[in-house]
């Protein structure tokens, strides 16, 4: 029997889809902001001279990076529930995402920190700058610019990982899809629509992160403009480099 695609029954669910997409976006944005902050702290902590602290960070990062996100969510939500700690699904999902993204961000940022030439740190020390100032002005700022592509790829992967929150019944986009398709019996169409919505969300996040990058890294903008005026060609090195260090969630 031939099945014909029929998207019409889904039209009335439009606001439901938008709601789900909005929640996905909120979860992802919140997780990214908190996760990057935590990840930055972990990146510095892992490089610290206090051996137990550095060790603990390594253990944390390796555990998160070598276990599936789905299992992490289950452990957090159901595991804590069995100890009597109940939390709303939104909070649990965001918490799991923060823990996950912080580990990846920490590794990415740490690689950036380590690529700061020793000479610049020495120069900063010899100018009398305190350790914190050096960490912020001389190490972190150029590092974020350097690892920005890898970091933003991670954000996209995190948004996709948010789909797994549907498995603990958080009301994000995938969960909405499950509900709608069981209501309308139009399963294939529903998931195709939802896939398209995720694509839109991906494009949106890419746009926002690009704009943010342009705003934050004015050095790139200034140098690019000056070079264009002088008629020189800028090398597009970053895309190949990011593709090689590919995906990861």
């Amino acid at each position: 029997m031939k099945y014909s695609l029929d998207f019409a029954p889904l039209a009335s669910y439009w606001p439901v889809f938008i709601n789900g997409a909005w929640l996905t976006l909120k979860m992802t944005a919140l997780a990214i902001v908190v996760g990057v902050c935590v990840g930055t702290l972990v990146a510095f902590a892992k490089r610290s001279q206090i051996k137990p602290l550095a060790h603990a960070c390594t253990v944390y990062i390796e555990i998160v990076r070598n276990t599936p996100f789905l299992v992490q969510i289950f452990l957090l939500y159901f595991g804590l529930a069995s100890f009597g700690v109940r939390m709303p699904t939104f909070a649990a999902a965001v918490l799991a995402m923060v823990i996950n993204i912080a580990a990846y961000a920490a590794e990415i940022i740490r690689a950036g920190l380590e690529s700061v030439p020793r000479g610049q740190i020495e120069a900063a020390e010899c100018l009398g700058l305190s350790k914190w100032r050096i960490g912020w002005h001389v190490m972190l700022q150029p590092s974020i610019e350097k690892v920005y592509p890898a970091l933003t790829s991670q954000f996209l992967l995190m948004m996709q990982a948010s789909a797994m929150a549907s498995q603990i019944s958080a009301e994000e986009l995938t969960a909405i899809a499950n509900t709608v398709q069981s209501d309308t019996f139009r399963s294939l169409e529903t998931y195709i629509v939802v896939a398209a919505l995720y694509l839109v969300l991906s494009l949106f996040i890419k746009l926002v992160t690009w704009a943010l990058g342009e705003y934050m890294f004015r050095r790139r903008r200034v140098v690019r403009r000056a070079a264009a005026q002088a008629g020189k060609v800028q090398p597009a090195a970053s895309t190949a480099a990011v593709a090689i260090h590919g995906g990861a969630a």
Partner: protein, 242 residues
């Protein structure tokens, strides 16, 4: 008058390799000292020890009355008195030239943004790069970057400035502009120690030359010393043009 910099029987090893084997010398206020020697003679190490980038094993180092070798030395105070310029300039790539100079002025000397900007422009003018204040380091030539590095240290108003082979990484054409800046600084009365390979410059401008060999001060004297080396080692060194 007490010397601004004083090294007394300084020893320093890296692992099993003893690089400084009892280095002693003094620098008076306003003097320009050129330290020359072959690679491995310990000259850069000696310079770095003065600003406590390396910690010595034995001996004493005194800068502007501060005991650098003491374990609880006030590093901030020391680094306010001493300015150092490196071979690889070490400018901060994500900041403009002016911001590079203002960074320490604002956060170490706690100057306001306006004050720091004024000082930055003043020192940039001194090294002839006022026009490049808003450029980024990658847009400048090596010689220009090195002059910015000198301006950055100068802005902190140090009492003594150290130069660690600052022209060694530069093309010959660019070396001249940096040496000119250094000559002006010396004429202005800055106390300077330079580790350098520029023999002609050293002979012409330095008040005294220290020749280091295998971790100790081998010969020392005014520029004319290079015309009449007393020891065979200095003779060999000068003839090899190293």
């Amino acid at each position: 008058m007490s010397p601004i910099v004083k090294l007394d029987h300084v020893y320093k090893s890296f692992g099993s390799n003893q690089v400084l084997k009892g280095v002693s010398f003094e620098v008076a206020k306003g003097e320009m000292i050129a330290i020359i020697g072959a690679s491995g003679s310990g000259k850069s190490t000696a310079l770095r020890c003065i600003d406590r980038l390396e910690v010595i094993d034995k001996g004493t180092i005194e800068v502007c009355g501060i005991r650098v070798d003491s374990p609880n030395v006030d590093l901030k105070q020391l680094r306010l008195e001493v300015g150092i310029v490196f071979q690889s300039y070490n400018l901060f790539p994500h900041l403009t030239v002016q911001e590079n100079i203002m960074l320490a002025l604002r956060h170490v000397k706690k100057q306001s943004r306006g004050e720091a900007a004024d000082v930055a422009i003043r020192v940039l003018d001194q090294v002839g790069l006022k026009a490049k204040a808003d450029a980024y380091p990658e847009q400048l030539s090596g010689g220009q970057q090195q002059r910015v590095a000198i301006a950055r240290s100068l802005a902190m108003s140090p009492k003594v400035m150290l130069f660690d082979e600052v022209t060694s990484a530069l093309d010959p054409q660019l070396t001249g502009e940096v040496l000119r800046v250094m000559e002006d600084l010396a004429a202005g009365g800055m106390t300077m120690l330079l580790v350098t390979h520029e023999m002609a410059f050293a002979k012409r401008v330095a008040d005294r030359i220290i020749y280091m060999h295998q971790g100790t001060v081998w010969e020392t004297g005014p520029g004319e010393m290079l015309d009449a080396p007393k020891t065979p080692e200095l003779h060999a060194f000068l003839n090899n043009g190293l």
